[in-house]
């Protein structure tokens, strides 16, 4: 009689056998005392392993763990609160810039007579937008500001040479 390999028997035992082999394996095992014995010994070992005595965490360690965890959790909550506030501030600032861009044509900055100051202010705004977010609207605003900057910068070069 050709016995299945130990690997196949183990896979069968662990229920991870190759599906194509299942039927033939089952058929063989049903009629083979040797393979049935191997499988039953494996099962008995697992039953015995389950009888292994268990240990319990001492109340001292339990209490200590909860005490330390509590301060870590508190710190986590505080950090989350801080992050939320920072995010809100950032969003507010972005909104201010968006509003500014909408009204840019009529703004003081656009009509400022000093291109160098204009260019510097635009640079600050671009840097802020780059740092703030990567959403589509912001990238679009950034493009507009960069175009505006190149125009104003060219003018400011004239201002410097004067």
């Amino acid at each position: 009689m050709n016995h299945p390999s130990i690997k196949d028997i183990q896979n069968y035992f662990e229920s991870i056998e190759d599906k194509s082999k299942t039927t033939s394996l089952k058929k063989h095992i049903e009629s083979c005392d040797k393979c049935t014995l191997i499988l039953s010994q494996m099962a008995k070992i697992d039953i015995l392993l389950n009888k292994d005595s268990e240990v319990e965490v001492s109340t001292k360690v339990q209490a200590e763990t909860f005490f330390k965890a509590s301060s870590l959790l508190k710190e986590k909550r505080l950090n989350l609160k801080k992050e939320k506030i920072q995010k809100e501030i950032k969003l507010e600032n972005i909104q201010v810039i968006k509003n500014f861009l909408t009204n840019y044509t009529n703004s003081t900055l656009k009509n400022l007579k000093y291109p160098l100051a204009q260019a510097s202010a635009l640079l600050v705004l671009i840097a802020f937008l780059t740092e703030a977010s990567r959403d589509k609207e912001i990238i679009q605003s950034e493009k507009i500001l960069k175009n505006e900057f190149s125009v104003v910068y060219a003018e400011s070069e004239g201002e410097i040479s004067e």
Binding site: I6, E14, I45, L49, V55, F66, A69, L73, L80
Partner: protein, 179 residues
């Protein structure tokens, strides 16, 4: 959403109740897993506490794995296993795989009942074999999950389980425990 998933989300928000839920769910199994690996209650307690605190620190890094039935359990057991292996390496210069389990004070007591005898014999198995067997039989984790937890190949787990069962069978026969 399952209670565990809710607790995971809660823990990401730093909620005390969420931590308590996860702690209670895994305390016993995690501690016994560490005890099986380290063979000493005091070392297991130390690493258990470190695991629970790491859980809070690392929870934002956790993401569910669809290919694992026990994704979160595997993740938390992996943290514990890594810490235990670090602890073994830190305290002994030899490879942790060759380390022998010591039952500490229990060694001195004459072993009477089957439970204790089995416990003693499991302790004689090499570290990874008894770890694999514990995770498979006691924790009912899949071979793939064990491979993820112990950072080894699936075949290494299969081989370890086979050798572990065989070694335990031989030890049981030696001890006169009939299978």
């Amino acid at each position: 959403m399952s209670e565990l998933n809710e607790a995971i989300l809660g823990l990401k928000q730093g909620e005390d109740d969420a931590f308590s839920f996860i702690y209670n769910l895994f305390e016993k199994s995690l501690y016994n897993h560490l005890y099986r690996m380290l063979g000493s209650e005091s070392r297991a307690e130390e690493i258990f506490q470190e695991t629970m605190l790491s859980l809070i620190k690392k929870i934002d890094l956790y993401s569910h794995r669809d290919d694992l039935q026990n994704s979160f359990k595997s993740w938390i057991f992996r943290i514990a296993t890594n810490l235990a292996i670090d602890e073994i390496r830190k305290n002994k210069s030899v490879s942790p795989l060759e380390e022998n389990y010591s039952i500490t004070e229990k060694n001195k007591i004459e072993i009477h009942d089957t439970e204790q005898r089995i416990h003693f014999l499991i302790g004689k198995l090499p570290l990874m074999q008894r770890t694999f067997l514990g995770l498979r039989v006691k924790e009912d984790l899949s071979i793939k999950e064990i491979a993820v937890i112990c950072k080894v190949e699936v075949n290494a787990v299969k081989q370890g389980l086979f050798r572990g069962r065989k070694a335990l069978k031989d030890l049981l026969i030696e001890e006169g425990i009939v299978l």
